[in-house]
């Protein structure tokens, strides 16, 4: 997996992660081209596209498109399940995840992705194990009250 992105139906990028070194200019171009390619596609068409040397795998969940760019030898079907597993993990963590959860807790969405993928490879496929480490992380954090007492700005 070379990169993964999540975007809204209007094409707004909600989350992006790059696993191979890419210049900012190149990133912008990839993002723009992928919006052009993926958003206009009809429902029930195939979830794979060829874009230059990259294989693009995408799937729509409610208002969000989850996309991944693959290298030549990566397995498309499995990449589709990588996206699905990620959505499951978000769902489990947030409880019925929606786009707003990802907007407001963008840092959490990144942390969950980190627990699941590293350098573009699957780190841990067990939903249980990922959740345990997220829970552990949360227990390490200070209590809500402690924060609520702080000023907003």
């Amino acid at each position: 997996v070379t990169h993964q992105q999540t975007r809204s139906r209007q094409g707004k990028l909600r989350l992006q992660k790059w696993f191979v070194p890419t210049s900012e200019r190149e990133k912008k171009k990839v993002i723009r081209d992928m919006i052009m390619l993926v958003l206009p596609r009809q429902p029930r068409t195939c979830n794979f596209l060829q874009w230059k040397d990259l294989k693009i795998v995408y799937k729509r969940y409610a208002s969000l498109y989850f996309c991944a760019g693959l290298e030549e030898h990566d397995n498309e079907l499995l990449a589709l399940e990588v996206l699905h597993r990620y959505v499951e993990l978000l769902d489990k963590y947030f409880g019925n995840v929606c786009e707003l959860d990802i907007i407001f807790n963008f840092e959490k969405a990144y942390f969950i992705l980190d627990e699941f993928l590293m350098g573009g490879e699957v780190l841990e496929t067990s939903k249980f194990a990922v959740n345990v480490s997220m829970e552990q992380a949360d227990t390490l954090q200070e209590t809500m009250e402690e924060y609520m007492s702080k000023p907003a700005y």
Binding site: T45, L77, Y93, M118, L123, A137, L140, Q141, Y147
Partner: protein, 929 residues
């Protein structure tokens, strides 16, 4: 705001995000962001020390602003401070910020590395994982230098927690990918391989990605992983769906691990050990059998996971290409998928079948699905699936079904999507040429192609049909007749007119018997009128026409002149014609067209450039070369050097001939899309100027010294070079292909990453007139051995636009070779002397070009070493010896290349007295064969 907010909430952040979301316009958003940035800046600069929470909150806000697409140029220091916090959440945000916004400030990197070092040695698994994630996310060279030796230790240590091991494995993989030279596995190798046996499935899953990557680079050291992988795979495949607990995904046991194991096995040839092989074949059969079982769940995730393993297994079967039984079963399975209701499976089945079609065992089996594939091409709703179907038709085409397939592709072209037309046209043109049994069919096909999709027929395609007609006597009459008929149509495509003009100009006399042929002059006049519309441009640009286009015009002109003599009503036009053709001498016009010298089909070259699935494989290219040879009757006529000379002599443009260099390279090959029209209206040329380094041409020059390094619609750069001892001289020829002057033309040689070379040059003239060519000489001295190549930056103004181009100069270490002849005994003695592991570099790789002995020999000689006969006991192998001359030292090098024609693989071994040289030569050469 969302209902759920677990762990910590940062209210200030949430408020800020809400504000941004409520902004009605882009301006309002920017205003709000600027306000926030000012606020944060003042907080960071303020006298009052901020507590951890505030720091975290502001850093997080900065991150959010950055992710919205705004630039952030401060806050790095505060983020680094967070790294050393003891609070997990602060540390975590700090790491996230650093990972997303890496800054190359060296002081900062030192601080970051320090913090990471502390966390790695903290023995707190959560902190260790955070640190490893940060290294993997940034993955810079500095980080690799600091941690590449530490991480393997963590990975194999007995007391490391499983979760840390997983992170360590993938972190190491990431570092290996960016800086392979810094990650030395050596002593760790066997312990890493044995991670395949680890109890914890998560550890195996992570470790196997690392092992796969390492195996690709060092297959020999890791080959023990094959048997371990097979036994692990066999255990998974035979386990019940509940055995693996949480590693079972929708009733499929460990799909990720299974696929990765199958992928790892694809790095190696089939296992030699009979027992291991038997076990593996059993696994593959079980996987194929499972595909026939009823699904355990209706969920798409279940079938996706199951089929992912199936497709990976099929890839392995295709990779081995040695089990006819499995290959045919795989083909049948894919055949079932071709009609599956799931679009994804149809897509993948078409894609896999493409590779299956190239195996001799399954080619016939693939062909039985032709009707289904044709149907897919016609009825699929999704363009990407149709594209795959077209690729597969191309791959399964052979002499027996070429006519059907070409006909189907032509009829599809009429309605094909614009995005894939050009590629389709090339494919049709190649198939028609490759499998033409009678040439009238070939001519018909290409003319149809022009009729249906004229805009997409590049000049390579229509040049090629002319070439073939010129070189084959038996098709000329037919071609003239057909093209004449085609031109009767009320509207003809420009390309049809060009082809028609040329063919009738040459062979119009062959249809003199046709009662309608008295119209030929009209027809030609029609053609000419077309060109007349370009007269004003032609008069100024005629000197810049490419040889082919020029020949084409000349042919029309000649026959028109002849016709005019007998056709009085057209004589009035003669005056214009004379004016038109005055730039060419009368003699040139009346000269008979020489046959085309045979050369590699330029359309193949073009399709090859396009890459992607379904691109032409090397063997096809060779085949086609051979076949087109017979097609053209090149055997009888062959290349005629005087032809080149003649056509060059009559070309007033210097850009057409780089001191004769062009005759050494395929003349029509430059696959720039410039058609005649583009050449003429050069203003329509590209305005895009790219600053990225272009190294397309670079690798082509490893084994040769002269040729065209770069060409686009504006500029052509040719190279001639010579080397002696540690010195070299390179002549660069910059040709302006347009009619417009290039201003402020400057070239700079950049040696930033290649300080081992000393390169001197004089600046070039700042003005390059349209059509002119200027020369620059570079004097090169090699001080010591080097790896990176110098860059050449070219800047100039074309029209108003600044063009900026950076190329890799093809100066490679092997240019400084002195060949050394030696006897077998000496060779092996020296080979043994160079036995330290670092002195050797080895690579096993797939053949990318013809494995023909003469071709290989020519390349090895071009490399600069002496090719030693009767040295290696196996006559199939090649051995070479040479000394690289640098100013500071001499490096002795020995090379051994072992081809395996059956597997289409090579093993390349280099031993040099200096390790960096072995490595670099190995890298360079692995891409040449």
């Amino acid at each position: 705001m969302p209902a759920v907010s677990k762990g910590d909430g940062m209210r200030g952040l949430a408020v800020f995000i809400s504000d941004i979301r409520n902004c009605k316009s882009k301006e309002a958003e920017i205003k709000r962001i600027n306000k926030e940035l000012a606020n944060i800046r003042s907080k960071f600069k303020g006298d009052k020390a901020l507590d951890g929470y505030s720091k975290k909150k502001y850093v997080c806000k900065l991150l959010f602003i950055f992710l919205l697409g705004h630039d952030i140029d401060f806050g790095h220091m505060e983020a680094v401070n967070l790294l050393s916090s003891n609070k997990y959440t602060e540390k975590q945000i700090g790491y996230l910020f650093i990972s997303v916004l890496v800054n190359s400030n060296s002081e900062l990197i030192r601080l970051i590395n320090n913090a990471i070092k502390n966390d790695l040695s903290s023995r707190n698994p959560t902190f260790m994982c955070l640190a490893l994630h940060c290294i993997a996310n940034v993955g810079s060279r500095e980080m690799a230098e600091a941690f590449a030796s530490e991480i393997p230790r963590i990975l194999v240590a007995g007391d490391t927690m499983d979760s840390v091991k997983q992170s360590a494995a993938l972190c190491l993989l990431r570092l290996y990918k960016t800086s392979p030279d810094l990650v030395l596995m050596g002593e760790w190798t066997s312990r890493v391989v044995h991670l395949l046996n680890d109890q914890h499935m998560g550890v195996v899953t992570a470790a196997i990605s690392l092992i796969t990557c390492l195996s690709q680079k060092n297959p020999d050291e890791f080959k023990t992983c094959v048997s371990l992988a097979v036994s692990r795979l066999s255990r998974i495949v035979s386990s019940a769906s509940t055995d693996l607990q949480d590693y079972t995904y929708y009733f499929v046991p460990a799909p990720w691990l299974s696929c990765k194991l199958l992928r790892l096995l694809q790095c190696y040839p089939p296992p030699e050990d009979g027992a291991v092989k038997g076990r593996l074949v059993e696994c593959l059969e079980t996987i194929l059998n499972k595909a026939q079982e009823p699904p355990k769940s209706k969920k798409v995730q279940h079938s996706n996971a199951k089929n992912a393993i199936l497709f990976e297994a099929i890839s392995l079967i295709i990779h081995y290409d040695s089990e006819p039984n499995l290959l045919v079963r795989a083909c049948n399975q894919l055949g079932q998928f071709l009609q599956h209701r799931e679009t994804n499976l149809r897509y993948l089945a078409l894609e896999s079948m493409c590779t299956l079609a190239s195996s001799e065992f399954s080619h016939e089996a693939v062909k039985t699905h032709i009707e289904t594939v044709i149907n897919a091409l016609k009825t699929e709703r999704d363009v990407s699936v149709r594209q795959r179907a077209a690729d597969l038709l191309y791959a399964m085409c052979d002499r027996s079904n070429a006519k059907q397939i070409v006909a189907e592709m032509l009829s599809y072209l009429e309605t094909a999507d614009y995005s894939i037309r050009e590629e389709m046209v090339l494919k049709v043109a190649i198939l028609a040429e490759k499998y033409a049994v009678d040439y009238s069919w070939y001519v018909d096909t290409i003319l149809n192609l022009i009729r249906i999709a004229g805009d997409y027929v590049s000049e390579e395609v229509w040049y090629r049909v002319i070439q073939i007609v010129i070189n084959r006597d038996d098709v000329q009459g037919y071609a003239a007749k057909t093209v004449f008929e085609a031109l009767q149509a009320p509207a003809c495509h420009e390309n049809m007119v060009k082809v028609g003009g040329y063919i009738l100009g040459e062979f119009g006399n062959l249809i003199a018997g046709d009662p309608r042929s008295r119209y030929v002059p009209f027809c030609l006049m029609f053609t000419l009128l077309f060109f007349f519309s370009l007269v004003p441009c032609l008069l100024t640009c005629s000197q810049k026409l490419r040889p082919q286009s020029r020949r084409c015009c000349a042919a029309i002109a000649r026959s028109a002149t002849q016709m005019l003599n007998c056709s009085s009503e057209l004589r009035v036009k003669e005056f214009h014609l004379q004016r038109f053709w005055s730039p060419f001498s009368q003699a040139t016009v009346l000269e008979e067209m020489p046959p085309f010298p045979e050369r590699e089909s330029s359309i193949l070259a073009k399709l090859k450039k396009k890459k992607g699935p379904g691109a032409v494989s090397v063997t096809e290219l060779e085949d086609s070369k051979r076949e087109s040879g017979e097609l053209n009757g090149a055997g009888e006529r062959g290349p005629d050097p005087s032809v080149m000379a003649a056509s060059n002599a009559s070309t007033p443009s210097p850009s057409a001939d780089l001191l004769g260099i062009r005759s050494a390279v395929p003349v029509s090959a430059p696959a720039s899309s410039g058609s005649l029209l583009v050449d003429v209206f050069s203003e329509a040329g590209p305005t895009a100027s790219s600053g990225a380094v272009n190294d397309d041409g670079f690798l082509r020059f490893v084994c040769k010294n002269n040729g065209v390094l770069f060409e686009n619609q504006l500029l052509q750069i040719g190279i001639k070079s010579e080397y002696r001892q540690n010195l070299g001289r390179m002549y660069l020829f910059y040709g302006n292909k347009t009619s417009v002057q290039f201003a402020s033309f400057t070239t700079t040689v950049i040696l930033d990453n290649c300080l081992q070379l000393n390169v001197q040059s004089k600046p070039v003239e700042p003005l390059v007139e349209g059509g002119a060519q200027i020369q620059q000489v570079l004097n090169i001295e090699c001080l010591t051995d080097f790896s990176d190549a110098p860059l050449l930056n070219i800047k100039f103004r074309y029209g108003g636009a600044l063009q900026n181009l950076t190329l890799k100069l093809p100066v490679t270490i092997n240019k400084f070779f002195q060949p050394t002849e030696m006897a077998s005994q000496d060779f092996f003695q020296r080979w043994k002397q160079l036995s330290q592991p670092q002195q050797e570099a080895q690579k096993i790789f797939k053949a990318n070009h013809s494995m023909d002995t003469e071709v290989i020999k020519a390349k090895l000689l071009g490399l600069g070493m002496a090719l030693l006969d009767n040295v290696d006991p196996n006559p199939e192998n090649y051995v070479c010896a040479g000394v690289i001359q640098t100013k500071s030292q001499q490096v002795g090098c020995l090379l051994r290349l072992e081809p395996n024609a059956q597997a289409q693989m090579y093993r390349l071994t280099l031993r040099c007295s200096k390790d960096s040289v072995s490595k670099r030569l190995c890298e360079l050469l692995a891409q040449q064969f």
